[in-house]
Amino acid sequence: MSIFKPEKSLWIYHLNTGSCNGCDIEILAALTPKYDAERFGVKLVGSPRHADIIVATGPVTAVAKESVLRVIDQVPEPKAIVVTGVCGITGGVFRGGYSIAGPLDTLVPVDVYVFGCPPKPEGIMVGILKAAEVLELKRKGMYQKDVVRISETGGVL
């Protein structure tokens, strides 16, 4: 019954950890009529306590680090973290800067990486749908970071 399947309802929280705003614009573009992520039950929520999926952008700056960790801690389980753009993955052009507290996956476990600078809105949508599969595995207690490899195009599409 897909009506009662929790992974069909994805409330995303958009977390900016010091991004240049490029990825943020693409995340919003994924919600616009041209791409319409709401077809898959995606809804942008304002409070991290309401969220299922965190879509993070930007290298984690030293100033933002504490707040980022607190916000991620507030998201109820099961949760999934999607990192968008190369800044969040490795630091990108800001890699090794004096004000960078490391990419996000050195601080918290990250589930899905969306490559690009910035990625296409379709890429962000595929990332969110992969995070939905991660959420389902986590709910069933079958999630293992090293073992799981999700199909490149996303089985749910």
């Binding site: 490795t90 052009v93 899905v112 490559f115 990625p119 949508m125 990332g127 490149e152």
Partner: protein
């Protein structure tokens, strides 16, 4: 009345139908001149390191073990897809992927190229030089075969100091010794 205009637009939208791209059903279409991944072909590389020099986020890392192997690596987790390296490459070893739009994964290290150029022996003096790039071999000999590759691998020092006859006989001997087919 702005409200009248708004309602007119709403009716237009309702009649016109959704403008949503058919993305999940059909593969993603990228615009013309889309810049995807830079792809590396080791056969064409001369090891000039121009790409490493121009790369803004330093996504290209090169480790040159002189005489052994020329390690070449692009980390797409750092690359900003600006294609400066492609513009800088003199031998077209780097080409751009202008078809694929989506790179999504659950593993950070999956999007990476690890490749490199081996060192070859100079047929005349036996010193180690970087394998000549395919583009340069074709420019000189009009074709890319094992024999022309050996002829192109003569090191600059030998070209400067040896006569063409000496080089030709040394190449012929090298081809026979190594059993390399001739054209």
């Amino acid at each position: 009345m702005p409200f009248g205009e708004i309602f007119g637009k709403l009716v237009d939208t309702l009649v016109g139908g959704p403008v949503v791209k058919p993305f999940p059903k059909e593969p993603v279409k990228v615009p013309p001149k889309w810049r995807g991944k830079p792809l590396y072909d080791a056969e064409d590389c001369t090891g000039c390191r121009q790409c490493e020099r121009v790369c803004p986020p330093a996504a290209i890392s090169i480790e040159d073990n002189k005489g052994e192997f020329f390690h070449y690596e692009i980390d797409y987790g750092v690359c900003i897809y600006c294609w400066y390296c492609i513009d800088a490459c003199p031998t077209a070893a780097l080409t751009g992927d202008d078809r694929t739009g989506l790179y999504v994964g659950t593993d950070r290290t999956q999007e990476k190229i690890e490749s490199g150029v081996p060192y070859v022996e100079c047929p005349v003096c036996g010193s180690k030089i970087l394998r000549p790039a395919r583009t340069l071999v074709i420019r000189q000999f009009k074709k890319y075969t094992p024999e022309t590759l050996v002829r192109a691998s003569v090191c600059p020092k030998c070209r400067r100091e040896k006569t063409p006859e000496e080089i030709e006989s040394a190449v012929q001997k090298f081809l026979e010794d190594h059993g390399i087919p001739r054209d």
